[in-house]
C-alpha cells in the first residue's frame, strides 16, 4: 500500500476527533447526550476489563454463528441446486425465513437454547446464513456452459464434476458471501444479546450496551459500540485474508 492509502484516512480520523472534541467542549454539550472523545477514552479505560471480556464473549458468539452459517448455508445451497424441483420447492421458504426479523425470533431461541451462548449464536446464525445461501447458490449456478461441456465430453462423473468444476466455480461467490456474513454475524450476536445475553460474569458487548444505556453511561455505550465495530472489522478482515489465501494466485482473475 502507498503511504497515502493509510495516511489519508488516519489524518481524517484525527481531524474529525479534534473537531468533535472542540465542538462538544466548546458548546458544553451534556456528557450523557454526546460524550467527547476523551470521555469515551476514559470510560474505555475505566471499564477496560468488562469491555475486554464482553468483546471476547461477543466474538465467540459471532464466530459460532458465522461458522454454522458458513457450513449450513453452503450445504443448503448445495442441496437447493441439485435439481430444478428442489430449488423451486426451497426458494420460497428461504425467502420467507429471510424476512423474519431476528428481534422477533430471538425470544424463541431463548426457549430452545436457554439464555446465553446458544441462543445468541442462533441469532447470529439466522442473520448471517442468507448471504451465504444466496452467494453459494449463485456460484453453483454460475458454471460456464463451455466448462461444463468439457466435463460432459470427457464423461466426468457427478462427483468429479462437483469437485473439479462446480465447487471451484462457486468459490469466489462463496468468498464474497462469507465476507458479508462475517460482519452480519456480529450484528446478529449483539441483537441476540439484547434479548437473551447473560448478565453475570461474562456479559457480551450487547449486554454491556443495554445496561450502560439504562444507566445513562453514554461514554461507555460509545466505547462498547467501538468494540462491536472492531470485532466486526476483525472478523471481516480475517475472512477476507482467508478467502484470498484459499483462492490463491487465481484470486487476481476471480470475480
Amino acid at each position: 500500500m502507498k503511504p497515502a492509502a493509510w495516511l489519508a484516512p488516519i489524518g481524517l480520523l484525527v481531524a474529525v476527533m479534534l473537531a468533535w472534541q472542540l465542538i462538544v467542549t466548546g458548546l458544553d454539550v451534556p456528557k450523557f447526550l454526546v460524550p467527547a472523545p476523551t470521555d469515551v477514552f476514559a470510560a474505555a479505560v475505566q471499564h477496560g476489563g468488562a469491555l475486554l471480556t464482553g468483546t471476547r464473549t461477543t466474538a465467540l458468539e459471532s464466530l459460532a454463528g458465522f461458522a454454522s452459517s458458513a457450513v449450513i448455508g453452503t450445504a443448503f445451497a448445495f442441496v437447493m441446486t441439485r435439481s430444478r424441483l428442489l430449488e423451486q420447492s426451497l426458494v420460497p421458504y428461504a425467502m420467507f425465513l429471510q424476512t423474519v426479523p431476528v428481534v422477533a425470533v430471538a425470544p424463541l431461541f431463548v426457549l430452545w437454547f436457554d439464555v446465553g451462548f446458544g441462543s445468541v449464536a442462533a441469532s447470529s446464525f439466522i442473520v448471517a446464513v442468507f448471504p451465504v445461501i444466496n452467494a453459494a447458490a449463485a456460484g453453483l449456478r454460475a458454471v460456464e456452459p463451455d466448462h461444463r461441456a468439457l466435463f460432459v465430453l470427457y464423461k466426468a462423473s457427478r462427483w468429479q464434476t462437483f469437485w473439479r468444476l462446480e465447487a471451484p466455480s462457486a468459490a469466489p461467490y462463496l468468498a464474497s458471501g462469507l465476507r458479508s456474513a462475517s460482519g452480519l454475524a456480529v450484528i446478529g450476536a449483539v441483537v441476540g444479546e439484547f434479548v437473551s445475553g447473560y448478565t453475570e460474569g461474562n456479559a457480551g458487548l450487547g449486554t454491556i450496551l443495554l445496561s450502560a444505556n439504562r444507566q445513562m453511561q453514554t461514554s461507555l455505550m460509545f466505547a462498547a459500540v467501538l468494540c462491536c465495530s472492531l470485532t466486526g472489522l476483525a472478523m471481516f478482515g480475517a475472512v477476507s485474508l482467508g478467502a484470498r489465501a484459499f483462492l490463491g494466485r487465481w484470486h487476481a482473475a476471480a470475480r
Partner: protein, 257 residues
C-alpha cells in the same frame, strides 16, 4: 419420412469405413430455432475438413452434435464417442488451474493420475515449455490457445473438433498456430473438423472445405483442396493459392447473396 434420431457407435479405425457419417441430420432447439436441416457429411480417417458458412448458420451446433454435446432432432450420426477432443473458440481453460493442471484434466477425469510425462510432452509439442505452472490469466491469448490444444491432444484423440480456435488471435499468432496445427496433424494423423470464418484459413489448412448455407444450416458446397502437403508459410503467397481461395469464396458468396 424422417428417420428417428439415432447414434451409432463407430470406435476404432476400420480402414474401409469412413470415420464419421452424418445422414439427414436436423436439429431444432427447444426455443424453436432451426439450427440444422438435413445435413449430410462423410469424413474419412485422417482427413482435415474445414467448415465455413455465414454467422449463426449452425457450425458450432454441428460440431456439438458430432461431439455428443447436443442431440439431433432427427437423422443419424455415426461418429466415435471416444477419443474425441474439442477445442473451443476462447481457450476455455479453467481459471483456477495452472496450465499443467488444465492439460492434465482429461487424464484425471479418466482416472489416470500418473500422467505427468504425457502432460509435459503435450505442452512441449505446442511450444509451451516453461509455462507449466502459470495460471491462464497470466498468459497471452495465443499461449492460452496453445494450452487448449495441448489439453485436446493429451488424450491422443482420433478426432479433433475445432470451433474457430484462432478467431480471436492476431494475424501473426494465427499463422504460427495454423502451421503448428498442420505439423501436429501430419505427425499424429487425427481426423480434424475445423470451423472458421476465414476462407483463407480454410483453404490453407484443409483437404476439403465444406460450405454451409445460412440458417437453418445445410451443406451447400464441398470443395476438395488440391494443394500438396506438407504445406508451409510460403504457400500463403504462392500464385497457386489465390485461385483456390477464390473458388471457395465464390461458393460462399453465392450462398450469402
Amino acid at each position: 419420412m424422417q428417420a428417428l434420431p439415432s447414434r451409432n457407435i463407430a470406435n476404432g479405425p476400420m480402414d474401409a469405413a469412413p470415420h464419421m457419417r452424418l445422414s439427414r441430420v436436423s436439429l431444432v432447439f427447444p426455443t424453436g430455432t432451426k439450427a440444422l436441416t438435413d445435413v449430410d457429411l462423410v469424413v474419412e480417417h485422417g482427413q482435415f475438413v474445414a467448415i465455413v458458412g455465414p454467422s449463426g448458420c449452425g457450425k458450432s451446433t454441428l460440431l456439438r452434435v458430432i461431439a455428443g454435446l447436443e442431440t439431433a432432432s432427427s437423422g443419424t450420426v455415426d461418429a466415435p464417442t471416444r477419443g474425441v477432443a474439442f477445442v473451443f473458440q476462447d481457450a476455455n481453460l479453467l481459471p483456477w488451474r495452472t496450465i499443467r493442471a488444465n492439460v492434465a484434466l482429461p487424464l484425471e477425469l479418466a482416472g489416470d493420475h500418473t500422467a505427468g510425462a504425457r502432460v509435459e510432452d503435450a505442452l512441449r509439442r505446442v511450444g509451451l515449455d516453461g509455462f507449466f505452472d502459470q495460471y491462464p490469466h497470466e498468459l497471452s491469448g495465443g499461449m492460452r490457445m496453445r494450452a487448449s490444444l495441448a489439453r485436446a491432444l493429451v488424450t491422443r484423440p482420433r478426432v479433433m473438433l475445432l470451433d474457430e480456435p484462432f478467431g480471436a488471435l492476431d494475424e501473426i499468432t494465427r499463422y504460427r498456430l495454423q502451421d503448428d496445427l498442420l505439423t501436429l496433424h501430419a505427425e499424429l494423423g487425427f481426423t480434424a473438423l475445423f470451423v472458421t470464418h476465414s476462407v483463407f484459413e480454410a483453404a490453407y489448412l484443409a483437404d476439403r472445405v465444406v460450405v454451409m448455407s445460412g440458417r437453418p444450416g445445410r451443406v451447400v458446397g464441398d470443395l476438395p483442396i488440391h494443394l500438396d502437403r506438407p504445406r508451409s508459410a510460403s504457400l500463403r503467397t504462392d500464385p497457386a493459392f489465390g485461385p483456390v481461395v477464390q473458388s471457395v469464396t465464390d461458393v460462399l458468396r453465392a450462398e450469402l447473396t
